[in-house]
Amino acid sequence: MGVEQKLGNMGVVTTKLEELVNWSRTNAMWPMLFGLACCAIEMMATQASNYDLSRFGMELMRASPRQSDLMIVAGRVTRKMAPVLRRLYDQMPDPKWVISMGDCASCGGVFNNYAIVQGVDEVVPVDVYVAGCPPRPEALIHGIVTLYEKVKGERIKDWA
């Protein structure tokens, strides 16, 4: 953190550093292997050869939260699952991002009842919401591209 804050007022150097860092982040963002319901099936399809998430630097899903940068919450989050989800999020190293995939994760979808968390943003901070029930693989890729646009806009002074 110290270096970034020192670099914070160096003009063109930091701009180029920002671009480099954001470029590298968007080209090697590993998602966590973490599926909760039917959206996970579409997430698998996105990873498979027809849509091939490797084109976006997501070479493989990491099964460990300590090796992943991106959490794709794919599916409905039950009240019982919510603490586990938060724990997994806390175990991920910074910088980390969250995509809320599908209606159930984003706001409960049709499951407006006592068992389902009405939106995973009650538990973790969400960067991108993807609509669909479940979203097509293309829709998930669109969400990932939206996230990349957001990451490319990040600034050094906002880090940490």
């Binding site: 084109r55 991108v128 993807v130 669909g132 029930c133 979203p135 969400g143 939206t146």
Partner: protein, 176 residues
């Protein structure tokens, strides 16, 4: 001699196994380069909603809220207001003053399409719905309504009294 035979068997097995690899090397790749190249959707695909208009530019939606009643996820909110002949939005008595769909609630089941008596709401073929905040996932009438067709006038229109008294168009073929 069994040593020679084992070696030859090993070589044969290696090439048998690699045959798949070599075959896949010359095959064209199956990957669809999504953001650049889009696979066309099926005719009955259910994507983002579109609110339709008649050819003269009047809105088909009459603000009856049947879609919102049919919606299993409670994603649609409709608030209707009265039409007058000086400010006419749709045929009949009422029109939808507020029409909002929460795209994150909607499960794209198409029940709203089935419930609509005027075929005003149709599920289109846009599936690219990603938002960075929940607020922008609520699509208002301005987002959903299709542009005024060629030769039509924008709403509200000033019309002659007594023409548009019927909110649901008369069906030519009830079987349809």
């Amino acid at each position: 001699m069994s040593f020679v035979k084992d070696t030859l068997d090993g070589v044969k097995a290696t090439f048998t196994g690699l045959a798949t690899t070599f075959r896949e090397m010359v095959r064209p790749p199956v990957t669809i380069q999504y953001p650049e190249e889009k696979r066309p959707v099926r005719p009955r695909f259910k994507g983002r909603h579109v609110l339709k208009r008649y050819d003269n530019g009047l809105e088909k939606c009459i603000g009856c809220s049947l879609c919102s009643a049919a919606c299993p996820a409670d994603a649609i909110f409709v608030e209707s207001a009265e039409n007058t002949d000086d400010e006419r939005y749709s045929p009949g008595e009422r029109y939808a003053r507020v029409y909002e769909i929460n795209m994150l609630r909607c499960i794209f089941c198409g029940y709203c399409e089935d419930a609509c008596p005027t075929e005003a709401i149709v599920l289109g073929d846009n599936y690219e719905l990603s938002f960075t905040d929940r607020r922008s996932s609520i699509y208002t009438k301005e987002f959903l309504i299709e542009p005024v067709p060629e030769g039509g006038k924008a709403t509200p229109q000033k019309v002659e009294p007594g023409i548009y008294t019927r909110s649901v168009p008369a069906m030519k073929d009830p079987e349809d």
